[in-house]
Symmetry: C2
Subunit: 449 residues, 2 copies
């Protein structure tokens, strides 16, 4: 039985969440004189920026996931615990897990966010969001089963509803989903069906504000919209979704309402803090923002709780002089994770730490093959070059974890063949129309429980 190195070092850092923030914190503490425990309810780190590619059949879940134990197994001071946190007690410095109680000296909370349906939780089962591997497989199932159902449907009106895909939310995820589904319909699946012409599919992207990719520069938003329209996506801005049911999506434009018959609605609109936000607030008095994110001090601690840090999407972090909190994106999470790790190390060494300052390298979103927008602050551009920048930035970070060169080769292959080999429907079999009806019944039954 291997001896645990951890027992020799006293200061125990518990990191809850193995996303970008938690994982970067853990990696930064690899050589520090502390023992580290990373708690996650999943056994893998998920490269969320590529999750839409799982949803649209380009790659498999494991291609964008890395087992946490594999990433961290060279750090002799670090332990991985597969468990779920349900509570904490700041006084006794304990967190309560499903499997027991764990004490900490420093606690780094990085449990992220989940979907937010803005008070319409009944839409959850009809319009799935995209945060987990299971979410992505559910989307994949629905997208490909919808084409199959259209193939079998003989009524032309019902058929068109199967061929209508409504994506709610014009941020990066919504834009990426809409672009990928348009490519499926117009390229990948074009030759595959006998009774339907997949190029007649309608892909609608609904955004409440006046442009897609609202955090980007206006020129890039309009470049992105043009690229989407070139792919056949209908972009509807300044529209609010007022209802979603099994067969339609209702959108409001000013005073007018429109009911769009659609069998597939995908949610990319809002996020709210994971449950730990509320728990932290209750136990420490921390303030939460509208989305339930935890308002933190400039050093990411909770007020009056210098040993509890909150980083990543779960944190509402306002830089000095900034109008808005930092966005919930991977680079912010990575830098915050690194920062608190350094702060913990400095505290132990009695050193002071410079204040946190987010180094914004820019932002980017991909629309489709050869189509992306990139804002590197000093330069903004769109088109094939942007697409290559996007590809290489993502590959770079992806292989950092697990040498996923295979993904790059898979992408190259997909690029030249325009193939999407992962368009298999799993977890659902038989007649797609019947399967969907059965699924709806189950969802209704579940929502009654």
């Amino acid at each position: 039985m291997p001896q645990l190195t951890q027992t020799k070092t006293p200061h125990h850092v518990v990191i809850v969440g193995g996303g970008f923030a938690g994982l970067y914190a853990a990696k930064s503490l690899g050589n520090a004189p502390v023992r580290v425990t990373v708690v996650d309810k999943r056994n893998f780190h998920l490269f969320q920026p590529l999750l839409y590619q799982v949803a649209t059949g380009s790659v498999s879940p494991a291609d964008i996931s890395s087992p946490l134990r594999g990433i961290l197994n060279r750090q002799s001071n670090t332990k991985v615990l597969l468990d779920e946190v349900i509570d904490l007690d700041p006084k006794s410095k304990n967190i309560v897990l499903k499997g027991g109680v764990l004490s900490y000296d420093s606690l780094i909370m990085a449990t992220g966010v989940s979907h937010h349906y803005f008070g319409n939780d009944q839409w959850k089962d009809i319009a799935p969001g995209l945060k987990t591997v299971e979410d992505a497989l559910e989307m994949r199932r629905r997208i490909f089963a919808a084409f199959e159902a259209a193939e079998q449907e003989t009524d032309p009106v019902k058929r068109q509803a199967w061929l209508t895909f409504v994506i709610v939310g014009g941020g990066p995820t919504g834009v990426e989903l809409a672009g990928a589904i348009a490519e499926l319909a117009n390229q990948t699946l074009k030759q595959d069906f006998s009774n339907i012409d997949t190029t007649t599919a309608k892909i609608l992207l609904i955004e409440g504000l006046d442009r897609v990719l609202p955090p980007f520069a206006p020129q890039l938003s309009s470049d992105a919209q043009k690229s989407l329209e070139d792919l056949g996506v209908t972009v509807l801005t300044k529209r609010m979704v007022t209802n979603i049911d099994e067969t339609s999506v209702t959108i409001r434009n000013g005073d007018e309402s429109e009911v769009i018959p659609a069998r597939t609605a995908l949610w990319a609109a809002g996020v709210k803090a994971s449950r730990m936000g509320a728990v932290l607030s209750e136990r420490t008095g921390a303030e939460l923002d509208r989305s339930g994110r935890v308002t933190v001090e400039p050093d990411f601690t909770i007020k009056d709780n210098p040993d509890i840090f909150v980083v990543g999407d779960l944190a509402c972090y306002l830089e000095e002089g900034a109008e808005r909190p930092l966005p919930g994106v991977a680079p912010v999470a990575m830098q915050q994770g690194n920062y608190v790790a350094k702060l913990v190390r400095d505290r132990i060494n009695g050193a002071t730490t410079k204040p946190f300052s987010y180094s914004n390298m820019g932002s980017m979103a991909v629309i489709g093959q050869n189509k992306a927008v990139v804002d590197l602050n000093f330069i903004k551009f769109a088109g094939p070059l942007a697409w290559f920048v996007w590809i290489f930035a993502h590959i770079y970070y992806l292989i950092e974890f697990d040498n996923k060169l295979v993904v790059m080769i898979q992408w190259a292959w997909n690029y030249f063949t325009r193939n999407r080999g992962a368009r298999i429907i799993t977890g659902l079999e038989g007649n797609p129309i019947q399967a969907r009806e059965a699924q709806s019944e189950q969802a209704k039954a579940a929502s009654k429980v």
Copy 2:
């Protein structure tokens, strides 16, 4: 809307099942003056010989699956229908699908087999088999969650039960599973845990007959057993499994019974014909063998039903002078599928067809890295060369469908790094011990329904 070529040609061949038999029949009919409909309840062909690699975290489901529409979309006479057959009427020449009725002129049934628990169906939820993608993911979940549970279990006896894996059945699937789990425990996961030494895991392979791989030559069986033992697998032959429950497996050796505490039992022992075997028997009077497979005429038709063919694992086919029916392996299914396609073409052309004769290229099974046994009839060998022959034979057939070169690269990568990137636990989250208990409760509740 594309015009359906099918309506121009009169003779309608319906193929039920897109496995090796059905798919090869469909491909062989690609240029024939017939219209072809392939019915499957899944939208993909699954390369079953590699399913154990999904179960043990080497590759993803999509890596060994190809969308049926993608494989067949260049055949203008062929249509794919995603549906499930529930009945047939040989008199009116119709099959009944969940979504409607389909008429045929020639019917090729190739729906394969599922697991057989020899009258102990209560073992189904405790000891999953390996026939579908979902089965493989369930096995993967159980294998990796068992290591996680062992990591958390403090009682040494209970911990050892989590670290004990019992594989029931010493055929190729059982041998491959046992070898792969041994490599996981002794190599891949060795550095990953803090509280357990994964090399103390017990992997037991139980076989009822007197040797593993019973259809192979005795020398290869003993080579395989030696290779398994080198990897740390305990091979127990002439043992019958008499009970399986959530915490143990009971085996009988002659008059003695032994209870082995084990939290993971995997089923690789028996198969029985899919439900269509019984339906065919009821509707046509076809005889079934002990496993429910359909006894067919020398030309694969059912007696007195010259338009209904049964091929692949669903068929019980006795070659003239042979003692035993042909085994349920991919090469047999491919050749049978090709044969009946040729026979249908010949009938239309008024030509006669030579009787079927199985061309046995040999058999092989892989045990682990550099370890395999190959029997090419004229030569039998084991070891690294056998392993390379195995790899290339499988790659050859795999890329025939979908140019899955990526899989070869993935394998090469795994080979040199001894990594298994697909060891992610999906569909299950949080504390593994609690999750397993919850799963057991669900299984119990489900079995009561």
